[in-house]
Amino acid sequence: MKISNFIRDHNVVLTAALAVVIIAGCGKKPEPAKPQTEVPKPPPAAPTASISVSPNSIERGQSAEVRWSTTNATSVSLNGGYVSGSGSQTVSPNDSTTYNLTAKGDGGTATDSARLTVTSTPQQVQQSKPPVISETDAQWFARNVKDIYFDYDKYDVRDDAKATIAADAAALIQKNWNIQIQGHCDERGSTEYNLTLGDERAVATRDALIAAGVPANRLSVISYGKEKPVCTESTEECWQRNRRAHFEIKK
């Protein structure tokens, strides 16, 4: 359970409260000679508390916003942690959570709560495939192991790809995974020749990663030629996106 704690400075609250009282007090004129009747002070206003969460149902991994506001409170807490009198917070709990707001003041205590429901993502139908890599691994991999791009009809690692090779190698060295390097080509050119060109790209990428320290026995290669493009427009931009070595974890 994630609870965001905002601990306010008690002193400021109390000082402010005191200031209110003093100021209120200062507003009073000195009483003229009066009959000795004691006018009872009005009771302090009761605090109010209001909290909401939006949306109130999310899938695990998504976020929601908690908003609260209070009045006449000297001390406000949210799920046990002190917060300001009013505010908002983005939350992303793994499980369903109730947010309890408590506002205490001279006039009493007020509470309110809001419930955030967290549902799991739908399960894929299990097929006889290799075990599903956990989401965190796949996300980490996508962030840290980037594709290598090539010039047309070329399979040598470009100067501007060398930094990517170094970064990819550094990332791969940290993990134990077996990696498949996939070589691809753009849509121009012939099916059979592109199989050999994709093969050369995958091999060149593998060799560069080995030179950068990735253990050779963790790397395998495959060529897809022009059979698995990521885009199909006949533009320079799309062609470049397809001329690539792409990486996948192989379990």
Partner: protein
Amino acid sequence: MKRTAIVLAALMLFASAELCAQDAQINTGINKGQDRVRLAAADFKSLSNDAVLPPLLQTFNTTLFSDLDNAGIFDMVSKSFYPLEQPGSPNEMKLDAWNVPPPNTAMVAFGNLNVQGGELVVAGWLFDVKNSSSPLVMGKQYKGEATDASARSIAHKFADEIIQRLGGGIAGIAESQIVFISNRTGNKEVWMMDYDGANQRQITTLGSISLSPRISPDGSRIAFSSYAHGGPHITMYSLELNRFVSFPRFEGTNNSPAWSPDGTKLAFSSSMRGSSEIFISDISGNNPKRVTAFTGGNLSPAFNPKTGAQIAFVSGRTGLPQIYLMDADGTNTERLTDTGYAVSPSWSPNGQYLTFAWRRKYGPGVPGSQDIYVMDAASRKWVQLTFDSGVNDFPCWSPDGRHIVFESIRDGRAQIWTMLADGTQQKALTTAGQNFQPNWSFK
């Protein structure tokens, strides 16, 4: 030489200075120096009122006329010029109705269909209507099931007889098959069809990516390349047994298999030992021997079908792919194309010509068009067959040497097209989904 002259004239219109330098006198077996024979194919008649006959007759007549028209050696007389009374048997044949205008034909094919004892019986004749003393060239009888498929098959057989008789002894292709790749089921699978696009049927159901199918010389097996188990690997399918037969799964990228004409060897491209080289093994994949040794990719081998002693192939050893020739043991390598991007060689059955796909202008950005060319292997002289019509690739010669089937991307979708070996009579054979990499059977 009328037709070659027309081709030459067409070339002159489209030619650049470079093309003009080529002497385009290539004789690809279309009209070897003679005018096409004028041939009429009368609608065969039914001999009885059996209800089964009319649709069979329709199929037979359409198929027969098509086959003769496709053959590339006849000047088919249009049916609108035929006499009103058409013969169903020799005693109904009136020569003088045919050997003068409007039909003015030299030859007439005619005959009849009947159903006897549940069997389809076809009688067909070929008459030389300019020879009044002895017009009979040939008479044939066929029997088969009373089905559409059987009517079609008999029409193919009769057409082939006529083609062989009048076409200088070269066997007709009306019963030949084309294997190809189709993605119409959502995956690239191996498919097969009759030479005219009829009877398209799915051969593999691998649910993966299949490429480069090549049928064996005896028609019993299809070798192709498949990702069904990674690879891709050379995969062997037996049409006789209707199942896959084993072939080793070599390391690396394995593709573009090719059969030797005697059916005992398979050449293919493999990166099993590093970069893609051409290997030759027996047809079970035993003892693969490497026959090329150059980086840059060596692929798409094709054995000379007449001798089996030479292999045409593609190599990227100088950069962009070019067509090369070598002896079947890997010696005497020679480069055949001099520029651009050249791929997918295929031999004519007489072993004299190569057809291949060529982009003569290739560079960054949009390349020039990719077209089908024919080159004389000895003189290196070449002719362009397709012009400004999409991206054309994977040409494959027919067993009669008169036709070339190829893949063409026109309007954004790849389809299988056929044409005469002089570039005329181009027409699409497929329309469903996208279709690629056709390969013609050896007979």
